[in-house]
Subunit: 340 residues, 2 copies
DNA sequence: CTGAAAGCGCTTACAG
DNA sequence: CTGAAAGCGCTTACAG
């Protein structure tokens, strides 16, 4: 079997110039008309030869190849957090397929942590028409470089770096978290504690902000509401809270879910929600009974793709689009009236 | 921010030709020597200008871009079968990253089922240095076309199409399935039934072959051992088998896991393994207690990547490598002595 | 030791 | 209505 046919082969077969073949095949007839007969001959020759345009050459010549990149600053398929990322990736793939875009997963060359400042890896994303970025932090220099070059990109997750010039699709954790606190307050709780991770990601501080805002507006004792803790400290905390007469604990759900797991493990003996109400800011795996909210992860992926493709196809430079998606409240059964 | 610097810019800055820049940067010094001073000047200029090679141009000129494709004949992130594909993809990504390869996910343009004969989509894979293929069947024409063109590809899963010319990394379902039957026989079972899906994939018939071979060598009544069934029919089957004095049921685990789920659901009332022993040819989600075997899915992905990269980097044309991986036996607790 | 030239397969002005 | 030419940013013979 021979080498893949190119436009020149079709041109020879159809007795026209390579330019004409390109014109016919790309459908770029800006003002120019091609005779119907030429057109048909070219198309037939292309069909016969089994022509497929070389996407690399296309991209080099025209800066469009219908491929969008996905760049994650850690493994795209991390073992520990399957359920966290998988729906996002599924959403990305779904929408990409719907829009006729292939996906390039940039896996980076070095070890996992070396990736952040792997400038080369990030710049490599330019082989695609545009790129989706994932990750808790933004490597400002290379992203700035891409942005400055007019390269279309969209972050997954809210970002406030680079003076708000980064387009993103994020999640409105502030509103969703506030709603959970309000629900507890309405159920009569006053002694509430919020357990968050040590991590300083925006998704963490947004949740905390929502919690604090809601607590303030309900005139709760805001001072003591937030507790930062590593997993190992949770047991002691719960013990202490119990003695303080706390009636509800709200916990942050992180990508690994280890904090909520630690909380549930520390609960042994305590009846939920009779003695203690529990709410989770996010939805842990295999715990549909937990009250809290669901993160629209699949939609996050889908929406990000749409934003990116819009950016790629729109000719005019627009201000960076920044979208926040609403979470889905989960009623669950772990919020009750204040106990003991 | 200006346009990305290219080799010509470095050449100007360093006072050499663009060719020299290419030579220095690529390290392609076949027999030719470059003066150390030139070399240093070029590297410094490249560093200063923040040069990053354009991967598109590199690929067009050299036919190597350190990207490997992943082509699935269905969604790469199918919702229904998360746990089935995810480990394979995770393995692929892991190994690709280790070998410095980016991944291109070809998502196809049309609907999901239109993909198989989407010749264009398959040919598009040629943008990568090579491609991994997934899927229950082989679209022979385009695969033959790729193979004939010397395009490196590796299938995930055993394949026997195209006269054995398709390189693959598969799973030795025959041996693993036979081992399960042997285990039952050793436990004293004679009345065994094997429940398989209606699907005719090779992974199904391999399992059946293993079951039959083992049954024959144990001189079981092979005639009646295999039952093909849709999920809905399982309940009636189990009922009948119960009346026939069957003491062990072996079930195929498919990608969706629906058959084993149906079997477990049909079991209500029957005590396992006291009354009935159960074994699964594969490992259903969330059922570590089931006896059977684990498919080395992560390793499947990893190994496939290694095979592919070997193929890409080896200069000599070799016969297609076909690898079968062993499964991991799962002892479980659902096999006992024959009941009733 | 280094450079001028051709070529990878396309697209896009620009001429006719 | 169609073609010759230049160019996208590289690599790779081939000369010097």
């Amino acid at each position: 079997m021979a080498r893949a046919p190119r436009q020149a082969d079709i041109a020879a077969a159809a007795g026209v110039s390579q330019t004409t073949v390109s014109l016919v095949l790309s459908g770029n007839t800006d003002g120019m008309r091609l005779s119907e007969s030429t057109r048909r001959r070219v198309l037939k020759a292309a069909e016969t030869l089994g022509y497929v345009p070389d996407p690399v050459a296309t991209r080099l010549a025209s800066a469009r190849n219908h491929m969008i990149g996905v760049y994650t600053f850690a493994s795209a398929f991390p073992t520990a957090v399957d359920d966290f990322y998988y729906p996002i990736l599924a959403g990305i793939e779904e929408e990409a397929a719907a829009l006729g875009q292939d996906l390039i997963l940039f896996t980076g060359t070095g070890g996992l942590d070396a990736r952040a400042d792997d400038k080369t890896a990030i710049r490599r994303t330019r082989i695609a028409d545009g790129c989706l970025f994932f990750g808790r932090h933004v490597p400002e220099e290379p992203i700035d470089w891409l942005l400055g070059g007019g390269f279309p990109l969209v972050y997954i997750g809210r970002r406030d770096e680079l003076d708000g010039r980064i387009p993103f699709v994020g999640v409105d954790y502030v509103a969703a978290s506030a709603a959970v606190i309000h629900r507890l307050v309405e159920a009569g709780h006053r002694e509430i504690r919020y357990l968050r991770s040590m991590d300083d990601a925006l998704s963490s501080s947004d949740r905390e902000r929502g919690v604090l805002t809601a607590a303030e507006s309900a005139q709760l004792p805001v001072r003591r509401i937030v507790a930062r803790a590593a997993d190992a400290e949770v047991r002691d905390l719960v013990e202490r809270w119990r003695n303080e007469g706390v009636t509800a604990v709200v916990v942050e759900e992180t990508d690994t879910g280890s904090l909520s797991t630690a909380l549930l493990a520390a609960l042994n003996g305590i009846r939920v929600p009779d003695e203690l109400s529990i709410a989770v800011l996010g939805q842990p795996k295999n715990h549909p009974e937990l009250s809290g909210f669901d993160v629209p992860r699949r939609e996050l992926g889908r929406r990000a793709v749409r934003l990116l493709v819009n950016q790629i196809t729109s000719s005019t430079a627009r201000p960076p689009e920044q979208v926040l998606l609403d979470c889905i409240p989960v009623a669950g059964s772990t919020i009750g009236a204040p106990g003991w």
